[in-house]
Symmetry: C2
Subunit: 216 residues, 2 copies
Amino acid sequence: MFSDLKNNELEQFTEEKQSQVYKKGQVLFNEGEHANGIYCIHKGKVKVYKLGDEGREQIVRLVKDGDVLGYRALLSGETFNAYAEALEESIICYIPKSQLFKTMEQNPELSMRFMTLLCGDLKGAEERLVKLAQKKVRERVAEMLLILRSTFGTREDQSIDIQLTREDLASIVGTATEPLIRLLSEFKKDGVIELNGKYIKIMDPDRLSQIGDVLE
Amino acid sequence: MFSDLKNNELEQFTEEKQSQVYKKGQVLFNEGEHANGIYCIHKGKVKVYKLGDEGREQIVRLVKDGDVLGYRALLSGETFNAYAEALEESIICYIPKSQLFKTMEQNPELSMRFMTLLCGDLKGAEERLVKLAQKKVRERVAEMLLILRSTFGTREDQSIDIQLTREDLASIVGTATEPLIRLLSEFKKDGVIELNGKYIKIMDPDRLSQIGDVLE
DNA sequence: CGCGCGATTGATTCGGCTCAATAACTGTGG
DNA sequence: CCACAGTTATTGAGCCGAATCAATCGCGCG
């Protein structure tokens, strides 16, 4: 994200940044809080979620090493409209508003970068919208597994490199925990995936994309 | 949107802009087409929709007088990822990329304006996402009616000032036509709304927001 | 005036949610 | 190191919402 700042600016950035370690479950920010800076995930994973009217969690986005977080609220000068919570021990640095804006003035490039990020997020959100409205849970689950794998990669044993509770998984696809579990069990029975606690290994990606797509 | 440009720039804008009349049903752009400019709705209404995997329409956004359209694709240098179609006879002016970018360079304000638009769209999309995932059709329909009224206002007879087919309405809330119609009929029977062809009049907004909210 | 599309209603089916019960797992303190 | 308590995961049964299919109706338009 900041990789092509001029050298001196990059230094300045690095100096002033405050790295902090967040433990699993620790909260970066809550919905409604005032945004005074942005978060860069140096290492780790964070879930960004909103609460529905009945208090149910809805995961809006998952964020990992190298991603930036919280710029929507900062750029629009509003409060955060989601919660962010570390999914594992994470190293995250905080860039205060003043510093970011100063750098942005000197580097129009950087503004453009944020613009691009926003565009990408918007596109992604709209695509998810359509899928949520039109696809069945079964298809969405299949698709989610593929997306998780391509986003977070795999560990040595080929399982997807992220640990989410079944509730989290359900909250990504927008369903209840039980239906999600049933689908995972079914996929497992059919040899499409393997389950190992929170780790999921995709055995037959083609089958999954078949299930997740139009077909069937 | 462009209201606080310096005078000479505003003139330049006005001179060069090409106003065009779109008839009802006429297409502004298709998904996948290359974006070479943005559209400003001078007068009229436009629906922006995507197609699901089975070809079903999903309305992403409704746009009216004073709104701007197509900047996501242009700013990110990608193709349009939705379709746009006039809902009624509309006067729309087209601002070519070159001119817009030139003006943006001279007016950082304008870039900031777009940034704000994007932030707003993103926020909106994420909120819709949550509602789609968590609320029932009945609640979403109730909420949509209220939103339509506050967005498009009412005519002299207090009916909402927009004409949408039942299919369009269904596609906004993310359901099939029949369930939507049933709910409208129910609301009508209960005296919550009145139906007059494509025009809908809200009789009991409080009841509607009750239905659309947590309660019930 | 009739054709055809959009709107409406009914009947049926199916998916997904909820509730309830059990099992596995996690971390904790004795 | 083990027992316990409190989660988290899993499975089963029943119900309800919503999609689908089918048929009719109404209306606008040619």
